[in-house]
Amino acid sequence: MTGYLVRRLLQAIPLLLGISMLTFLIAHLAPGGPTDVLISPDTDPTDLAQIERTLGLDRPVPVQYAMWLGRVVTGDMGRSYLDGQEVTVKIRERLPNTLLLSLTAFVVAIIFAIPIGIVSAVRQYSTLDHVATSVSLVGVSLPNFWFGMLLLIVFNVHLGWFPSHGLYTYGRVFSLLDRVRHLVLPVTVLAYGGTLALFMRHTRSSMLEVVRQDYVRTARSKGLSERVVIYRHALKNALIPLITLLGLSLPMFFSGALITENIFAIPGIGRLVVQSVFTRDYNVIMGINVIAASLVICGNLLADLLYAVVDPRIRYR
């Protein structure tokens, strides 16, 4: 097991190098550069060339990559070209917001998805099943920006129940209630418009498969109550495939939810990614990419390891 873990982690190094090299290349291949934001009729492009010289942006891309890599291995991700803030600070400021939003949405989605999934599997083709399936389908089909705006108009403008933007009220001392009020709408969009349906459908189909297994019939024939059969014997096994899904969802928690972050003005990673790409803020693009890539690699590894924990038939050597 330890040997396997070490091997996987060693494999990750060339993988990360490759990913960073490719991202760096692609980012620099796109036309323009960080000095584009300075373009105006008052600014001569030859002045901009001078700035690029000072910033080292006029060097060949491989040289720039080597310089970047040299800094990164010492833990220095550089500064944003856009506002001079250190990339690590930028990510550290925003990651908690993104995690708060995505994990809360995830937990909310799970809380609703699993019971609904079970019920609609156990009572397959009942009215309840049909309603649950259609409601979740509607959720996935709604575009997030539209659904978000709809929620804002109803619950912010007309009812005045929830605030429209941000994660807390400016200038107010910390209050849990205030935080929760700010989270309700974005979490609803993220959970109902995304993961809920996914997890509900997965629980349902995996449950349907499990209840037809021999050991479930055995359990029933032993005379166990339906409740015990479903919740003790069937459910646990039905949830195994969900762990794969959890592992695969991990990177999603960190990459942020661009549209939701945008609508509700939540300063998260998703907004940062898009802004850095549009402004060619290379250091930020690279910083987020390296961190995201590392997380994907860790997420996959974690999912594989969890398998071994959950399923005794799987052993790693």
């Binding site: 584009d36 105006s40 908690p96 003005a265 300063p267």
Partner: protein, 591 residues
């Protein structure tokens, strides 16, 4: 096969603790500065909204709007411009220009202090302008100072040193040494001198009328803080995120992507704001920003044209419509055989329905444009050639120019089809819609237009500046000074990307730079605008108005007025606003 139930519990506990960690770890502990020190519950806070965030809060390093809003609050220049573009003294009490227009002498106020208590002197002014010419300066302002004596030659020398370094004739160390030497030599010329603590003298090598507003309108930064930080060090200095100025508002707090806050400067020499704190919330989605105005979570914010009708009757909002020095145009690549003929360009102007754009895109809150300039700027000439929407006249002119309908209905001449690609940047709704209207308009007179939307950075670099386009829709945001050398002069360079050249226009632009008297200059600019309307290098499309929503709790002794030249647009003079005591809590829903 079944999983031990303790594993599930473990997983659950892990997930919950992770969630708590995240919930507890973010935000509240960090923003204690904002909540504790400066914002006592009884203070009056003005809440504004902006789509974009600021960059470097240092006026000499930046030129973008959101940053300009805040550097405008925090910093002051030698002169200031009001909402009607009149120039007033600010840090300077008065100034004189020599008869040859080459020597500008500014007398400075002696009663101004920086926000940290240090006195303001001529050293700060000299330092600010010298920094802009430093070899490793990273901002966009050099163009306003290359008329200082020796500056132009010095900047050329920098470029040639860079070229040598790139060709590897000299090492990078030699490169920076040589550049610093050149800079020292330039400083020795004393283009900017300070005879005493409250006098600054600028010497130019040729008359340059835009100097007054473009150059001395730039915010002054404190020498005592930035003294040892030039170039990259100035850029990365803590000052860029914690600026110290002399303005009526003092910097308070900034969380990227979230908000920026300034507080009143109780010791300002001219005007002390009556509102305690001004906070700009960063809300990237324009519709959410409108929602926040409607639900009284913001005091001031921009309203999109398409939402105007819906907002005009909201009882707790005052809607202010103001002009901006911005116009949008349909630019033609004048080196392209399709657009070489002036008659054809006149025909296109007759074929394009500007009024439809004004009505469809801006709900009537825009003016059709007919030439370069802004209707409320002093140089504007209303009496230029106007091309009414008249497709029949367009067809006549095209026929006159030798274009006849081909077999597929598209005009042809000498084997060439009148078909071209029109490019604009993606995400700008007004430009995208204009492009569609132009496509329809031109198709009605037998011209085929293909539309192409390009991401902004790519559009600027590989389309406009590379001059790789047939036609484009772009806009210009104009400054206080009407000088338009970079856009229309034959030697204008990169921004004359339509490749326009007219010797008379060149001459008029040069004349306009030589005298500083506004009345004399406006004669030159009036003629320039008339020629441009006749030559039609662009089909000038429209000047969109700015629209702002203001919460009904706000008061001012004058009237609320958006400014066309201040980045802050509405809140540029918020130091004159006040909030009645009964509304101190926040924006109101029921006035």
């Amino acid at each position: 096969m079944s999983m031990n139930s303790s594993h599930w519990k473990l997983l659950l506990v892990a997930m919950i603790s992770l969630g708590l960690l995240v919930a507890g770890g973010c935000g509240p502990a960090d923003d204690s500065t904002a909540t504790d020190d400066v914002t006592p519950a009884e203070s009056k806070v003005l809440l504004t909204g902006s789509i974009g965030d600021a960059s470097y809060l240092n006026p000499i390093l930046t030129s973008d709007t959101t940053t300009g809003t805040f550097t405008g609050y925090i910093f002051e220049a030698l002169v200031r411009v009001d909402g009607q573009v009149n120039v007033h003294p600010a840090l300077a009490t008065d100034w004189t220009v020599s008869d040859d227009e080459l020597v500008w002498t500014f007398n400075l106020r002696d009663d101004v202090t920086w926000h940290d208590g240090e006195p303001f002197t001529s050293r700060d002014v000299k330092f600010t302008y010298d920094s802009i010419l430093h070899p490793t300066y990273t901002g966009p302002r050099q163009g306003n100072f290359n008329r200082l004596i020796g500056a132009s030659a010095y900047l050329q020398e920098l470029a040639s040193i860079t070229a040598k370094a790139k060709a590897e004739e000299i090492t990078e160390t030699e490169e920076s040494e040589m550049k610093m030497e050149a800079y020292e030599d330039w400083l020795a010329l004393e283009a900017i001198s300070t005879p005493d603590d409250y006098t600054v003298v600028f010497r130019l090598f040729e008359p340059f009328a835009p100097f007054l507003t473009s150059s001395t309108g730039l915010g002054i930064v404190p020498e005592h803080i930035l003294r040892d930080a030039q170039g990259l060090e100035m850029r990365d200095h803590d000052f860029s995120r914690n600026p110290i100025g002399t303005g009526p508002w003092m910097f308070n707090d900034w969380r990227s992507g979230e908000y920026i806050s300034v507080v009143r400067n109780p010791n300002h020499w001219r005007v002390v704001p009556q509102i305690d704190e001004l906070v700009m919330k960063i809300i990237p989605d324009a519709s959410t920003l409108e929602v926040a105005l409607e639900s009284a979570e913001l005091d001031v914010g921009p309203i999109q044209h398409e939402s105007y009708d819906q907002f005009v009757d909201v009882p707790h909002l005052d809607i202010i419509v103001h002009d901006r020095f911005v116009y949008t145009y349909f630019g033609m690549n004048l080196t392209h055989p399709l657009f070489e003929d002036k008659t054809v360009r006149h025909a296109l102007a007759h074929a394009i329905n500007k009024q439809e754009m004004v009505d469809e895109i801006f709900q009537g809150l825009a003016l059709p444009a007919h030439s370069h300039g802004a209707p409320t700027r002093w140089d504007y000439n209303p009496d230029v050639a106007i091309y009414d929407y008249d497709p029949d006249r367009a067809r006549e002119l095209l026929a006159e120019a030798g274009w006849v309908a081909g077999s597929d209905g598209i005009l042809e001449k000498d084997g060439m089809r009148f078909s071209f690609t029109l490019q604009t940047n993606q995400g700008n709704r007004a430009r995208e819609t204009s492009a569609v209207i132009i496509q329809e308009n031109l198709s009605a007179v037998g011209i085929e237009v293909h539309l192409q939307l390009v991401e902004w950075s790519t559009f600027v670099n590989t389309v406009l500046l590379a001059r790789e386009f047939e036609a484009c829709i772009v806009g210009w945001s104009l400054g206080v000074d009407p000088d338009a050398f970079s856009i229309w002069h034959t030697d204008g360079g990169a921004y004359n990307f339509v490749t326009y050249s007219n010797p008379r226009v060149d001459e008029l632009i040069e004349l306009g730079r030589e005298v500083s008297d506004q009345d004399e200059r406006s004669v030159f600019y009036a003629e320039m605008q008339a020629i441009l309307a006749e030559d039609l290098p662009y089909v000038f499309l429209f000047f969109p108005d700015g629209i702002q929503g203001l919460n009904a709790r706000l008061r001012t002794d004058g009237e609320f007025m958006g400014s066309p030249v201040h980045s802050a647009e509405m809140t540029w003079n918020a130091y004159e606003w006040w909030i009645p005591d009964e509304y101190r809590e926040g924006p109101i829903l029921n006035p």
